[in-house]
């Protein structure tokens, strides 16, 4: 190796620019993944319009003035089944309905993936599981899911009456699929609804949602 080569290499190594490794050519960084960068707790919840199981479009904006809970689900996911088989999700839905809260269950699984259901099948599941959502939305193209950055099932969001997103994350603080862990868990959705009803800020507004990944296309 000649002195010149050493000089050039060391020169390149020594200049203040340093060496750019992985991701150097990638786009400018943003605070959230580029594919889902809109919903942020503390800001306005992004609006969407998705068809419900009865075929009619449901739009989030139409529920302004009411509390809305968004529940991303996949009926075959063991973590979702933990809450449905124990009746935990259903009782939460009924509790919310009693308080006048709108509950939208969203299925963002694309066709052919786990959790994908036809409208008829979705309605069957609601009946057989005795669930009580206001509507079940079939977000097959994943538009609403990506707008909210829904990563797992179950992934829960709470929107207050003014349309602000006040909670995003897990349903509770026991990130397992064990049915026994439902009992005694701290339910974040209930806590968020109670806080909003009492006019107080939500104590833990952002948590890590646990569960199976949402099967986007």
């Amino acid at each position: 190796m000649s002195a010149e080569l050493i000089g050039r290499r060391s020169f390149l190594a020594r200049t203040g620019t340093g060496l750019v490794l992985a991701g150097g050519a990638s786009s400018l960084l943003s605070a959230r993944p580029a594919w889902a960068a809109v919903a942020k707790v503390g800001e306005a919840a992004p609006g969407f319009t998705v068809n419900a199981t009865n075929g009619s479009p449901v739009s989030l904006a139409s529920y302004k003035g009411k509390l809305v809970v968004l529940e991303w689900t996949n009926h075959d996911c063991p973590y979702v089944r933990k809450h449905y088989d124990t009746g935990n999700m259903q009782s939460l839905q009924r509790e919310a309905a009693r308080q006048g809260v709108v509950w939208l269950t969203v299925i963002s699984s694309s066709e052919g993936t786990q959790g994908y259901v036809t409208p008829t099948q979705a309605d069957e599941l609601t009946t057989s599981r005795k669930a009580a959502p206001t509507a079940v939305l079939l977000d097959t193209k994943g538009v609403a899911g990506k707008l909210y950055g829904a990563t797992n099932t179950p992934h829960m969001y709470v929107v207050d009456k003014a349309g602000m997103l006040v909670y995003a994350g897990a349903i509770d603080d026991r990130p397992t699929s064990r049915r026994a862990d439902v009992q005694g868990a701290n339910n974040y959705v209930r806590a968020a609804l109670d806080a909003v009803a009492a006019g107080q800020p939500v104590k833990t507004p952002v948590t890590r949602a646990y569960g199976c990944t949402v099967k986007y296309s």
Binding site: G18, G24, S26, L29, R32, G42, N152
Partner: protein, 709 residues
């Protein structure tokens, strides 16, 4: 009759129809999920030892053999997933430590990222046996392991694992799982030798690892795995910069809205290029949350601070000498019309602003390209420092009277000239900027720090405000006629003053030579000084030939320019030498001697066993090998037992001697581990053995134990 038969048939048909149609009650169209097949992961409990020594601790491993295409998770599973857990059912008196995870893989799942393992992984735990033998019989260790295994869907699985071992006094022999456990221990991130810190801005998080002396061209990849969710966006690309003082990784922030307050544990994986390919080393780092960025500035505040900083920059030692040139120009033009003075002031300001814009533009462009550099980056290059030293030296020679550069370039005419010399003011402004960059005035730090996190337009305005502050005093003097009356009239004192002002410039040159010494070592200094000598010689030639015949003047100018050219050509060579690197703290473990071929030959002549470790401060694999294998008490004990002499060849600053020894083993780089066995009773000296580049305790111990059968 036929009609009646037909009617009866129809009637029967209609009644039987519903029965015959076999219409069952509407079956649900949602199938219940298929019953789970065989488990995707088989777990076994491995023991490091073949027996249990009472009171001693030993490693056990939970080996997960994962079906192809499926994966399990690390302690931080990433955007989705669940880490494995184990519930131990141990006999009374036993203690179990936490699960120790080997270095994970990145597993992108669509737009998300998980961290985990495929194919096979051994999760380690340290178990401690109680002292005393309760009943002497074999002990059964039981654990209940639960995990999540995913491919496109996820299946939670669980299994019981057991391991039965006899209890025996004394050091146990290696067990059936010893090799697998040793390999797993090798894959566990080692404690980092370098401190790490974390800095968060509203959009990004930067993890800085103070690892000086690394060579960027040896490193293929650096990845950081955060130990908990929410601080760093797992799926975001990590921008890595390797600078002389360490590694910086910048990634988009995670979803937690608040700034991280607790230290962030994580794993830093560095893939290094060795002779035999890429080797990964993993380090467990704890990034301490440094003093936060503080309350963020508004743009107006930043511009105000920048203006103030620029004003104060006028007083800084690196700027003052250059300004002395301007001061002299002001004095020289003290009598000229206000219009000319004003234009000089504006030309100077223009020079400052244009130069600041160029520097700031280059800085922002490089940062957008991913480089993690700060203000003053141009002075991190010894080449730039050398050229700056030459320029300042030339100007100082001009002020000393040795060199007449001409009114064009410095505006210091031999007397009042009609020529305005605006270009001179412009270049003085540019020079003041370049000289100013290494001095950070108070206020500048906050303003520049703010600017670098903003979009280019805002950043540029902050830097221009800085430039304006720098140019302001002279601009004011040139614009306001009244103040110019304070400037003394030109006279003979000017020559003496200009000679005096040369000395701050010489001082700046001395400082720059010191910077070169830090960057390029003594060899670089020698070359820069030689360059300065050549410039001084050229200047003297010009000076001497100034009043001579034109022919001589041209010849002298030619030689002077040639010397200057040689000086400039020397500059890159001055940048060649490696910087002095601080070697890491002295390792504990087996005592070592520095290597030299003479010492090696001496020891071989005496027939002693020798272990040679070829290493370098910038070699990460060497570092990991030292920590994992060479510093272990077992290896020290083996060396002591066999009387092995441990020689260490430090190739941090390359030496031809060591390079040739490496070459004799067919290697061009470190690490290299060579075992020279003892002569013992053999007729000829046994051949040296080369150990693998990824060293393990077992390999060293076995190498020496085997030789002395």
């Amino acid at each position: 009759m036929a009609t009646r038969l037909l009617a009866a048939a129809l009637l029967i048909g209609m009644m039987a129809g519903p029965g015959l149609a076999a219409d069952p009650a509407r079956a649900p169209t949602v199938k219940s999920p298929a019953p789970p097949g065989p488990p995707k992961v088989t777990v076994t409990l491995l023991g490091e030892t073949a027996s249990i020594e009472p009171g001693a601790s030993f490693w056990v491993g939970i080996r997960q053999r994962i079906a192809p295409g499926w994966h399990t998770y690390w302690t931080n599973p990433g955007d989705s997933g669940e880490p494995p857990t184990v519930d131990w059912a141990l006999p009374p008196g036993w203690a179990a430590g936490p699960l120790v995870f080997p270095q994970p893989e990145r597993m992108p799942v669509g737009p998300l990222m998980s961290y985990g393992y495929t194919d096979e992984v051994v999760l380690l735990t340290r178990l401690t046996a109680p002292a005393g033998r309760p009943n002497g019989g074999p002990v059964t260790l039981r654990g209940h392991v639960a995990w999540l295994v995913c491919e496109k869907i996820c299946i939670p699985e669980e299994a019981d694992v057991t391991l039965t071992l006899p209890v025996a006094a004394g050091k146990p022999a290696p067990g059936a799982g010893a090799a697998a456990i040793e390999q797993a221990r090798r894959a566990v991130p080692s404690p980092s030798p370098w401190p790490a810190s974390l800095r968060a801005t509203p959009e990004t998080v930067t993890v800085s690892v103070a690892a000086p002396g690394l060579q960027p061209d040896r490193i293929a990849e650096v990845v950081f795995f955060p130990g908990r969710w929410g601080v760093i966006d797992h799926a975001a690309p990590q921008e890595v910069t390797i600078a002389p003082d360490g590694i910086a990784l910048r990634a988009a922030r995670g979803l937690l809205p608040e700034d991280p307050s607790a230290d962030l544990d994580g794993v830093l994986v560095i893939r290094e290029r060795l002779d035999q390919g890429l080797v990964s080393s993993a380090f467990a780092i704890t990034a301490s949350v440094g003093g936060g960025p503080g309350p963020s500035l508004t743009m107006i505040a930043a511009i105000g601070l920048a203006l103030a900083g620029g004003l104060i920059l006028n007083l800084m030692p690196c700027v003052l000498p250059v300004l002395s040139i301007k001061a002299l120009a002001m004095v020289a033009h003290g009598d000229s019309s206000p219009g000319i003075a004003r234009r000089h002031g504006l030309a100077y300001t223009a020079g400052v602003l244009v130069c600041f814009a160029a520097l700031a533009g280059a800085l922002l462009a490089l940062r957008a390209g991913g480089a993690q550099i700060g203000w003053g980056f141009q002075l991190q290059s010894p080449l730039v420092v050398t050229v700056l030293a030459y320029v300042l030296f030339t100007l100082a020679l001009g002020l000393s009277g040795l060199l007449v550069i001409g009114g064009r370039f410095t505006g210091v005419g031999q007397g009042l000239t009609a020529r305005p010399g605006y270009a001179g003011s412009f270049f003085t402004g540019a020079l003041a900027t370049v000289a100013a960059t290494p001095c950070t005035a108070p206020f500048m730090g906050a303003a520049v720090g703010y600017a670098l996190t903003q979009p280019p337009a805002v950043a540029l305005s902050v830097f221009e405000a800085l430039g304006l502050g720098l140019a302001l005093p002279f601009l004011a003097l040139s614009l306001v006629p009244a103040w110019r009356r304070l400037v003394p009239r030109p006279g003979p004192w000017m020559a003496r003053l200009s000679q005096a002002f040369a000395f701050p410039l010489y001082a700046s040159v001395a400082w720059l030579v010191w910077v070169v010494s830090r960057q390029a070592g003594p060899d670089g200094v020698a070359l820069v000084l030689l360059g300065l000598l050549l410039i001084a010689f050229g200047a003297w030639l010009r000076h001497v030939a100034h009043r001579a015949a034109p022919r001589w003047r041209r010849a002298a100018t030619g030689v002077a320019l040639a010397s200057a050219a040689v000086a400039i050509a020397l500059a890159p060579l001055a940048a060649a030498g490696p910087p002095a690197t601080a070697t890491p703290g002295a390792p504990a473990g087996a005592a070592w001697e520095p290597f030299s071929p003479a010492r090696l030959a001496e020891l071989r002549g005496q027939g002693k066993p020798v272990f040679v470790n070829f290493t370098a401060a910038w070699c990460i694999t060497c570092l990991v090998n030292e920590r994992v294998a060479l510093r272990s008490p077992a290896v020290a004990e083996t060396f002591a037992r066999h009387g092995v002499v441990y020689l260490k060849a430090d190739w941090t600053s390359r030496s031809g001697e060591i390079a040739s020894v490496l070459g004799s083993f067919g290697r061009s780089g470190v690490p290299l581990y060579v075992v020279y066995p003892a002569r013992a009773g053999r007729a000829t000296m046994p051949e040296p053995r080369v150990l693998p580049q990824i060293l393990s305790e077992g390999a060293i111990i076995e190498a020496f134990d085997k030789e002395t059968l």
